[in-house]
């Protein structure tokens, strides 16, 4: 074996009591694609941030081409040829693509920035690597996929020879993700070495040469991709054998949520045209579509945050078309918003505060204008326990509970909400989501919508756009060639293909 282009040895990093990285060592060969696999909170991002110099490690060393990098200096990492595509993009929306790419590449004291040359170079790089993007566009106007290309171009512009991508497919639709991996393959042919982070087994299997598995801050295994299997990796990742949870067969009840002809007027891309569907008791309804096709508004409508311009929505026979958020809470319409950081939870508040936030008008949690803290804490502790929210106590600041907001957020519903809607519940930001809803069997997943009225109005399809028979989880609508065989259920859920069974 030749000398590795990148070598991490004994990397250790603590956040307070938490050991995020525990004596991690790994290496990367030239021209190789290494997948770093691990559950949410396994410490993958922390490790890459240390490699790139965002954090300094408490112990351990990073070597690029045999030379040690100084700790905590992104500048040194960039100079050594490390480029990083961050999980949460580091772009300025108000500035242009060129601005975002060239910053930091020139001496700050130049009198004039070389814009022309920069643009020409960006165009050339786009061309070479198949990453089309307009150098003059404002980044805020770009789609998520385009923004990711800008992030990759940023690294290439600085002549990166090692490219790190932190959960690059989290924000992409399946075809975009496939295309990304084709592009990455092409890059390795050109001599780049790549680490990509993921917790999606099928893409690790499809795109990597080698896999390093992290669990709870430690390297638990390293495998050649050709010598492993998804089931093997799943077990390594979660640390016990995983079996696919079975949904007990059960009869569907009466319709609970019924939508008829829901439309939302034009404007800001919020478009729904005559959407019909019903969700029966005991049913999980999956709604698929590339983001931007109205799923978000539909989700908002189901929780009273948006009103339809036409159509009727009913809950157990009651008209809830003009629902207010307060009523939605009272009627027990649970909701896991798509953007938990922005809408679902307040990161700087403790978990217990988030848990009772929307129920403060109830005497159980507030009396005479005062919050009943002990009752609220007990409630939060109970939720944490029942819904398996890991790494949290009632007093933990919510933003530190990792990416398990989804749970904290769906938590507040007492016992058994008649309906729960979840926007992208299994996207990697919310992480593995196990649906231990016990007897709460009803869940409508709100992410559907199309622009084409014909597609929805057509008889025979009714309101239920897909699915062999009601109550069953939908297959992939734009799958990455994964028929579900040998797939870890948790990872399956993570693929954004619907909820992984209740």
């Amino acid at each position: 074996m030749t000398d590795p282009i990148l070598e991490l040895t004994g990397i250790t990093r603590r956040f307070g009591p938490l050991l995020a990285n525990d004596d991690i060592s790994l290496h990367l060969q030239k021209g190789e694609i290494l997948a770093l696999l691990g559950e949410n909170g396994a410490g993958k991002t922390t490790l890459m941030n240390i490699l790139f110099g965002h954090y300094a490690a408490d112990a351990g060393e990073v070597r690029v081409n045999g030379r040690a990098l100084p700790a905590g200096q992104p500048r040194a990492a960039i100079a050594a040829g490390v480029g990083m595509v961050h999980q949460h993009f580091t772009l300025a929306g108000n500035l242009t693509v060129t601005d975002n790419i060239v910053i930091g590449s020139e001496s700050l004291w130049r009198i004039d920035s070389r814009r022309k040359e920069a643009k020409a170079r960006i165009r050339a790089l786009s061309q070479t690597f198949g990453l089309p993007v307009d150098p003059d566009a404002r980044v805020g106007d770009l789609s998520v996929g385009e923004r990711q290309r800008v992030e990759i171009l940023k690294a290439l512009y600085r002549d990166a020879s090692i490219l790190i991508l932190d959960e690059p497919t989290a924000v992409l639709a399946a075809p975009e993700a496939e295309q990304l991996f084709r592009i990455l393959r092409g890059m390795t042919a050109g001599g780049l070495s790549i680490i990509f982070i993921s917790h999606k087994l099928h893409e690790v299997m499809a795109a990597s040469d080698r896999v390093t598995v992290l669990r709870a801050g430690r390297v638990v295994a390293e495998r050649r991709t050709s010598e492993t299997s998804p089931a093997d990796l799943a077990e390594l990742m979660v640390g016990r054998s995983v079996t696919r949870p079975k949904r007990a067969a059960h009869a569907l009840g009466a319709p609970v949520v019924v939508a008829r002809g829901l439309s939302v007027g034009e404007g800001q891309g919020k478009t729904l045209t005559e959407v019909d569907f019903e969700v029966h008791q005991g049913e999980i309804l999956g709604i698929v579509g590339v983001s931007g096709n109205g799923q978000a508004v539909l989700g908002q409508m189901l929780s009273g945050l948006a009103r339809p311009s036409a159509g009727v929505l009913t809950l157990e026979g009651r008209d809830i078309t003009r629902l207010t958020p307060r009523e939605a809470v009272r009627l027990g319409m649970g909701r896991v918003p798509e953007d938990r950081h922005a809408e679902g939870t307040v990161g700087d508040l403790a978990v217990w505060e988030n848990a009772v936030l929307e129920r403060l008008h109830e005497p159980a949690f507030a009396a005479r204008g005062f919050v009943r803290r002990s009752a609220a804490r007990t409630h939060a502790a109970d939720l944490i326990d029942r819904f398996d929210i890991r790494g949290a106590g009632p007093d933990t600041r919510t933003r530190l509970v990792g990416r398990q907001h989804a749970k904290a957020d769906s938590g507040p519903e007492p016992g058994c909400p008649p309906a729960l809607s979840a926007g992208q519940p299994a996207d990697p930001r919310s992480g593995r989501r196990r649906h231990r809803r016990r007897s709460c069997r009803v869940a409508g997943r709100a992410c559907r919508g199309r622009r084409d009225p014909d597609d929805f109005g057509r008889p025979g399809r009714g309101g239920r756009p897909v699915g062999p028979h009601p109550g069953h989880r939908q297959g992939p609508s734009f799958g990455a060639g994964d028929g579900g065989e040998g797939r870890c259920p948790d990872a399956g859920a993570d693929d954004g293909r619907g909820l992984g069974g209740a």
Binding site: N49, F52, H54, Y55, Q73, P74, R75, A77, I78, A79, M84, H86, H88, T90, L91, A92, G93, N94, L95, D99, N100, V102, I103, G104, S105, E106, S107, L108, W109, R110, I111, D112, S113, K154, R399
Partner: protein, 313 residues
């Protein structure tokens, strides 16, 4: 009506507009620089007062006028450093720190003034900047009086508008500064240090503010009064918004405000029967209206007033 027309066609009005606008131009450029990097600097009022005192005092003690301006800028740099330490390094509230610096700067300026200067019946004075006579230009009809008979700091202010616009939009430093105000994490990810950039921007901006104050004691008048800044700093803060954080528009806003002000001063003396307080109010009322009309579309720097801490999510 004819009175208004007479006033507007009088070259002395336009000369006054430039004179009144000068401290505002310095101030608004300074505030803009700070805010473009993501730091609100409400210390402006105190920094201007300090600049007014420090520059004047240096000249009173025998320094040249330009050396005096340098001293004023230095005083601004120091107060800017204080604001940066509190807000950028310690991440404290930018509002609270700014207001604190306004109180501190104003009081300290007056305290030092009383400590070091003997004040008799009349406040002591210096010989301030004199109007420049520019060969060929100053003798032009109308324009000569209106534009080309200002003091040197006024021309400096106008030149600085162009410099600021160029630096912000055309240089790597300006890009780094703007990016820091939009997303400091993006700056760090590209190997630059957003903390240093913010500190630098706040210090440079504060130096400009101090020059605005110095203009008052070293060109517009010739002595120092503790209350002489009179809210000009606050006007500058509003003008930054009016200008959508752009130097060119900031110049426009400063001139517009100065026009209202110069105009109402003259109306006060020509129109009788109207309480003069109404005229005094006019520039502020008009500014608020202009703000309402223009600023709603303004694109605020996204990271304005957000403290940056390394490695925090």
């Amino acid at each position: 009506m004819t009175e208004a027309f007479d006033i507007l066609t009088n070259a002395s009005l336009w000369a006054a507009v430039l004179r009144i606008a000068t401290p505002l131009i310095f101030g608004v450029l300074g505030a803009l620089l700070c805010e473009r990097a993501g730091v609100l600097n409400l210390g402006i009022e105190g920094i201007m007062t300090m600049g007014a005192m420090a520059g004047w005092l240096a000249v009173y003690w025998g320094a040249g006028l330009w050396a005096g301006l340098l001293v004023a800028a230095l005083a601004g740099l120091l107060l800017g450093l204080l604001h940066a330490l509190l807000t950028v390094i310690l991440g404290l509230s930018q509002h609270v720190s700014g207001l604190g610096i306004t109180l501190f700067g104003s009081s300290l300026a007056y305290y030092l003034y009383r400590l070091w200067v003997q004040v008799g019946d009349l406040p002591p004075s210096i010989r301030p900047f004199q109007p420049l006579s520019i060969p060929g230009l100053s003798s032009l009809p109308f324009l000569g009086e209106a534009v080309f008979s200002q003091t040197a700091p006024t021309y400096l202010a106008l030149a600085l508008v162009a410099v600021a616009a160029w630096v912000l939009n055309r240089t790597p430093l300006g890009l780094a500064l703007r990016m820091t105000g939009e997303n400091p994490h993006a700056v760090e990810a590209q190997g630059l240090n957003p903390v240093m950039i913010r500190i630098g921007a706040v210090m440079a901006g504060s130096a400009l503010m101090a020059l605005g104050g110095a203009f008052l004691t070293m060109a517009a008048f010739n002595s120092f009064f503790p209350t002489m800044v009179q809210g000009r700093g606050w006007i500058c803060i509003a003008l930054v918004v009016f200008a959508s954080w752009r130097p060119g528009k900031a110049l426009l806003g400063a001139l517009l405000f100065a026009l209202f002000d110069a105009f109402q001063l003259r109306l006060q003396t020509t129109v009788s029967g109207v309480p003069y307080q109404l005229f005094l109010m006019a520039p502020y009322v008009l500014s608020i209206l202009a703000l309402i009309l223009v600023a709603r579309r303004a694109r605020v720097p996204e990271a304005l007033m957000q403290p940056y801490r390394r490695g925090e999510r």
